[in-house]
Symmetry: C2
Subunit: 246 residues, 2 copies
């Protein structure tokens, strides 16, 4: 049987390895929710970069540039990390360079994977249906918060473990931990997460609407996939997952 | 309010820091269960060492030496990592040098803590009662398995988070994860853990009796505490926790 593992933070990634695996990068609040939202709303691509400097130099080359550090938009950039800002009509057809505190770092560390896709509650079922068809093992990589484990990413990892359970065994204890957490929280994600550290951090920044948005399931039928360094919308029909494209 | 944090594996310890904290080292299967059992049964002290070489050189100096690697007793030592072997009458009054795959490594990494104590289900209530009296913050350090998170240590961490909840807040998401896991598993630890990676590993080694023993709560009213490099039985009366000494 194929296997699904969960890595609770990029700080532990070297214990797992990404080679020959489909890696699902998860940063629910808010990087991977933004990526999903942006591509669903017509962005051509998102170029994830690890550092502010790289992001700045892409901006100098004419890209729209999004940068978030510590939950806030970094100075001198065009976009922050709110999913609502990725719905802007003026972004349609454009490519955005993006760097965030945790999410884009997790992608940078996974480049040797067989494939990197982006997961969030917003595209949960699309991701699960896609994963169910895979012949490679799966590694769910939670972006966490500066190396630490966080509740919302772990919870979503648990949703994936549950979702692919027919086809993928979960031998590792982190996967079981995530699964158990999801069972405890899935009926009311918002309530369950109300005490999480990052939700409290974001509340202080007064972005409650962002949190509520990111905790909705299956708003988009879109999977961002990394191709040649850019996240683009996967052509789901070609992957024959039987989903209607957004 | 004072704070309790949970570090799910020693690989993440540098994100927390141990200074000015009471660190509870947890390696349920089986190092910290053995330490508790040994001191409860009359061992004078346990000297935790990180490497087989250190353990061997203490053996050469006349100490009883216990060494476990990958779940098995290492060649050329006197004891392995079964709690039953620590009940031996012939060990009364003796000091044992001990090295294990995960538990003694976790201790070695925590030496800058205000205090290091040893927790297991076997002495759960004694540990909780002691912690409730502390003025320092608490860090529960799960030994895990070779850097990875494991279910049984996380579960026990959750028991401590629950137990000290009146006096200690848990701001970190790992503590909330552990707490949630414990709520899911506490009514039948053995069943809950039946699918954990380490339980499966130990089952293959045919040490089911060890597992069952280590999952019993409150068998001993003893807390091992590190003093000058040796784990000794804490004088609980002097700490005025109101417990009857075993």
């Amino acid at each position: 049987m194929k296997n699904i593992e969960v890595c609770l933070t990029p700080a532990l990634l070297e214990l797992y390895g990404v080679e020959n695996k489909v890696v699902v990068v998860v940063d629910i609040l808010r990087a991977t929710s933004c990526m999903t939202t942006g591509l669903a709303h017509g962005l051509k691509s998102i170029i994830p970069v690890a550092s502010l400097d790289e992001c700045r130099s892409l901006r100098a080359k004419g890209f729209v540039a999004a940068a978030e550090r510590d939950g806030k938009m970094a100075d001198g950039f065009d976009l922050g990390n709110s999913p609502f800002s990725y719905m802007d009509k003026s972004l349609e057809g454009k490519s955005v360079a993006m760097t965030t505190t945790n999410g884009t770092q997790a992608i940078s560390k996974s480049l040797k994977a067989e494939q990197i896709i982006i997961g969030s509650f917003l595209n949960k079922t699309a991701v699960i249906n896609y994963l169910l068809k895979q012949s490679h093992d799966i590694l769910v990589l939670c972006a966490g918060w500066k190396g630490q484990v966080n509740l919302e990413d772990t919870l979503f990892a648990g949703a994936l473990v549950e979702g692919v359970g027919k086809e993928f065994a979960s031998e590792n204890d982190s996967a079981m931990t995530a699964y158990t957490l999801y069972q405890a929280g899935k009926n009311d994600l918002s309530k369950f997460l109300s005490s999480s550290s990052h939700v409290r951090r974001l509340r202080k920044l007064n972005i409650i609407k962002d949190i509520e948005f990111c905790l909705q399931s299956d708003i988009y039928n879109v999977i961002p996939v990394l191709k040649k360094g850019e996240l683009v919308k996967m052509e789901l029909e070609m992957e024959s997952v039987g989903l209607k494209q957004n």
